[in-house]
Every structure is written in structure tokens, then in C-alpha cells.
Amino acid sequence: MRTTQPTVDLRTSLASVQLANPVLTASGCAAAGKELGQFFDVADLGGIVTKSIMMRPRSGRATPRMAETPSGMLNSIGLQGPGIDSFIANDLKWLKDNGARTVVSIAGHNTDEFVNLAKRLYNQPIDLLEVNISCPNVESRGQVFACDPLAASRVISAVRRAANPNVPIFAKLTPDVTDIAAIARSVADAGADGISLINTLLGMVIDLDTLRPALGGITGGLSGPAIRPVAVRCVWQVHQAVPHLPLLGMGGIKTGRDALEFILAGACAVSVGTAVFHDPTAPMRIIGELRDELALRGFASLTDAVGFAHKSAAEQDGYFAGLARADAAAIAGER
């Protein structure tokens, strides 16, 4: 391992979208950016991923909506939101005015709703569409499209046809399936430009004082560092299944070291979710920490590290030997 690497190129891309750095927020954990804008300049992030938006205003589920769990939390928000019209008029405008790279997450009850959302956003100033086919906080688990390869691919191909062709679409998958690689292949075949991994895992907490479920919605989505090993495994498996597709990795990222695991497993960029509740400036801090972690390991650029854990030891050695030769040549050139 090399010990000195002064600068690391953090630029990356998600399909055709170029990002200054690989750290984004996670859907549902940053609203539409405005609140975090009080703590840092949202334009300095790789991007803001907005809360999943639906066609109509939606109240979401009853309270209590959260329970803290060891190194994690459960939530049962139920996609509370203002509906697409208010979102475009207020939230999207704010993000644009503030220079943020904007990933809009959309959610629907059926394929038509996803298609209508994609159409409403066709001419809007958005950089990427994240298609949330994996929210566990809907009344009927039968609606989780990402549990069924056929349903998942149907939504994705319809959205791909309806959305602006210049805007990449990413399918957001759930880990609550037997074979996530199979779901990933099906959405890739259906035209997804990339994949976001992972949404929350379905979980439950029982309140020992009331002897009843702690959440108003009974079950909820588990997030936070508790789910990180599951998330890293999913990114690894999906990278193997569809190596050409860019992946946006997330699940329990709290530090630059955590982010690096996802990159090495195959993610081109990462989203930070629950950690924002603990530390509103976490996404900004993680950019710096990730840069240091890459430098410490001798990487010249973030993109060189993407999927690096899949390489054999010999291939890994070859990368660093190549960098050393290039450095030596540069030094020789200077002389």
C-alpha cells in the first residue's frame, strides 16, 4: 500500500450525470434539501435525492412513526408528501435556485402513476430520476414492485419510455427478496440506466410497556448502520450480476470508511440517510473522510476504486504498480 497520495479525484458519474463528488443524500432523509441548506451549501454535495413524491398529496401513516433500534431505527412514515404539483412549484424550484444536483425520487401505486410522474417531470430541471419501487411503508406488501422481477421490469420499462430520454432512471431495490441479482437483471433488461441499493428492510418493534407494536403502522423500515452489511452484500451481488450498470449504494453509511466499503463493492456513488438525523452535516463530512480514506490507500481517483474489491490480488497489485510507474516517469520527466 502506498502511503502518500496528496490529491484524489473525487469526480464520478451516475450514467450520463457527472457529479463533482460521490456523496448524495438518501430519499426521505433530506426532505427536498431546504432544511439541510441551513447547515451547508447543498450545491457542494454530489446531489440531493428528494423524498419520494407521488401524484397526489398524501398524509402518510399514523404516529408514532419511529422507534430507535440498536444502531438503527424503524420508520413508518408512509410517503407523506405534498403531491407532484406543489413539489415542482416549491421544492424543485428551490433546489434549482440553489444550484443543487437534483435526483427526484418518484413512487406510485401502479405503473400508470409512475408513468404520469415521469411525464410531469419531463421538462423539469432534474438530473436523474430514482424510481422507488421498494418502499415497505405501504399498506399492502403486494405493492412492493421490487419483490417481483416481472412487476419491477414492467414499471421500469414504462417509466423509461415516458421519461425524458436525457434523464437517466435508477431503479431503487429492496433487500427483502431471495435473489436481488435476479431483480437487478430484470430492471436492467427493462432499461434502467442504473440501480439504487438498498431501501429499508421490513422490521418490527414491540413496546414492552404497552405490550403492543411500537409503531402506529405496526411494521416499518429498518435503516442505519445495523443494515450496512446487508447493503454492502447487495451492492456486491448486483455489481457482479450487471457489472456495466452504475450503482448508487446506501444503507447505514455514517463515515467515509463506510462509504468506501460501498465503493469497493461496486457503487459509483453513495447516499447518506439516517446518519443525517444524527448529524445534519454528515454528508459534507463524509466527502472529506472518503477523500482521506482513498488517499491513505493510494488511490488516484474515486473511479479507480469502484468495484476494486472484486479484483484479484494480482490485479490489485497491478493497479498500484502502474500508478508507481506513472509517478516514477513523471518524476523522471521533471528532472
Binding site: 426521505g28 432523509c29 433530506a30 426532505a31 431546504k34 432544511e35 439541510l36 441551513q38 447547515f39 423524498k51 407521488m54 397526489r56 398529496p57 398524501r58 398524509s59 402518510g60 401513516r61 399514523a62 404516529t63 408514532p64 412513526r65 419511529m66 430507535e68 440498536p70 444502531s71 438503527g72 431505527m73 420508520n75 412514515i77 407523506q80 408528501g81 405534498p82 403531491g83 406543489s86 401505486h109 399498506e139 402506529g216 442505519g224 448502520p225 439516517t274 446518519a275 443525517v276 438525523f277 444524527h278 448529524d279 445534519p280 452535516t281
Partner: protein, 290 residues
Amino acid sequence: MTELATPQYKPVQETGEIFDLTRFGEYLQFTVVAPGIAEAYRPGQFVAVAVGGADTSMLLRRSFALYGVKPGGDYAGTIQFVIAAKGKGTRWLFDRRPGDSLDLVGPLGVPFPVPRNGTPAVLVGGGYGTAPLLPMAELLIAADSEVEMIIGAATADRLFGQLPAKRLLGKITVTTDDGSAGQRGWVTDPLPSAIERLGAEIVYACGPMGMLRAVGEVAKAHAIPAQVAVEESMACGIGVCMTCVLPVRGSDGVSRFVRSCVEGPVFDAGRIRWADVGSVPADLFGADGN
């Protein structure tokens, strides 16, 4: 979707050293050096405290109403808050010592609205809920308002703020459920006569949800507003997660789930749909969005 504005004052995140810790009955009062928070604070706002240290498994901050601040002068500004040991996070806070550091975000939330000068007001505090009312009482007195205060708790050692309240107001009314201090009963028992005696035009309250609801009903019976600071389960405290919502009727007559961390914690009691807390009433904005 929200009709109330985003917070007036920009919150900051700062690491502050614990300057002083004082026990009062079941409570622990913190004084922490936090000049940024102290500077922007208004009564009714709260602070979100990280618990458990750097490698903790407790991810969510704990919220505490600000009991007051001492703005910077010769030394850096400090903030005060009062906590009860309840679960894991507050028990961890009980083990802190002066000199230890805390990671704080604040000031958060909408402060108590301040009436025009000279408005007579009754303040009602339950348990540690008295803490945020004391700086409000001070503010009202400075604005030439006549102020009465009723403080209550289940038992004598769960009362907070008796002494500072007496020092501020001369005389206060104290109630306990079991009669172990003051008069036996609820804070709402002496409230009607206090409102009438004073000709109060507004009530301020902080305490358990049941108490706030009851205070709201007494105020309504006297045709005056009650401004109450609620305590709803919060994951972020800064308005990004949507966990802390309450069904609140807007000035347009439409009820919405609003975030109590940024649109509260202070609400007009008459606008909260108390009976519907914990459910999704059918006429709520977006309830049919399913």
C-alpha cells in the same frame, strides 16, 4: 403543503463543554457552553442532543426544551436545559460530568408568540415542562404583563422550578396529584380562577400531552388562546424525516399532518386535533392519497 413558515432562526450545530450540572429532585439541570445557540434563542425553542458518544448504537438525538440562556459577555454564552432520566439516552446524560462535551443542534422550533405589551397571561407547567416557561415569564414581565404561574406534577419530587418561579413572581400556585406538595389535584383545577382573577388574555403551557389538551379546553371555555409546547417523538428535530407530525387545523380550515419540530413545538392548542393524535382522520389533507 405547510402554511407556517420555516424557522425564523437558523439552527447551528456545536460541541459544547458542560459547565455545570445541578440535581433538582428527579431532574438534572445542564448548563452547557454553546454561544451560537445562546445567541439566537427565543423562549419555547429546544435543543437536540447527541447521546452515547462517538461509537454509540443510539443514532437519534434527544430533544430538550431550553430552560434559558446566558448570552456571551465576558465569557462564552451558555444554554440551560433540564432532563428526566427516562430511557437509555437520558440515562447516559445523567452520567455526564462537568468538563465533558455534548454535541448540540439548536435552537430548534418556533418560539412562543409574544403578545403586545401588558397582556395578562397565565403560565402552566407540568413536571419539567415548567422549564421553558420561566424564560417566557421573564419576557412577559419585562413587557409589563401581569403573570400568574401554576406548576404541577404527579409528586413533589417531580416538580420543577418552584424556587426560581417564586423568585420571579413572588407567588405561584403548586399542585401535585398526590398532595405531597401544594394543593392536591391537577394544574387545570386552579386554572379557571387564575384566568378570571387576572383577566388573562392568553395561556402558555408545557407538559404532558394530556395536560396540554386539558389546558386548551379551559382556555377555550374562557374564549382565550392557549399556546402549548408539545412533545412528539422526533428522529431528526430539523424537519427532514416527517416522524414528528401532529394533526393540526390550519387557518384555512384544512387539517394537515404538520411537523412538530419545525412548525412547532409551540402550537395554538385550539388548532391541534387532540382526539385524532395517533390516527389518520379521514378529512386530513392527503388522507385519501392512498
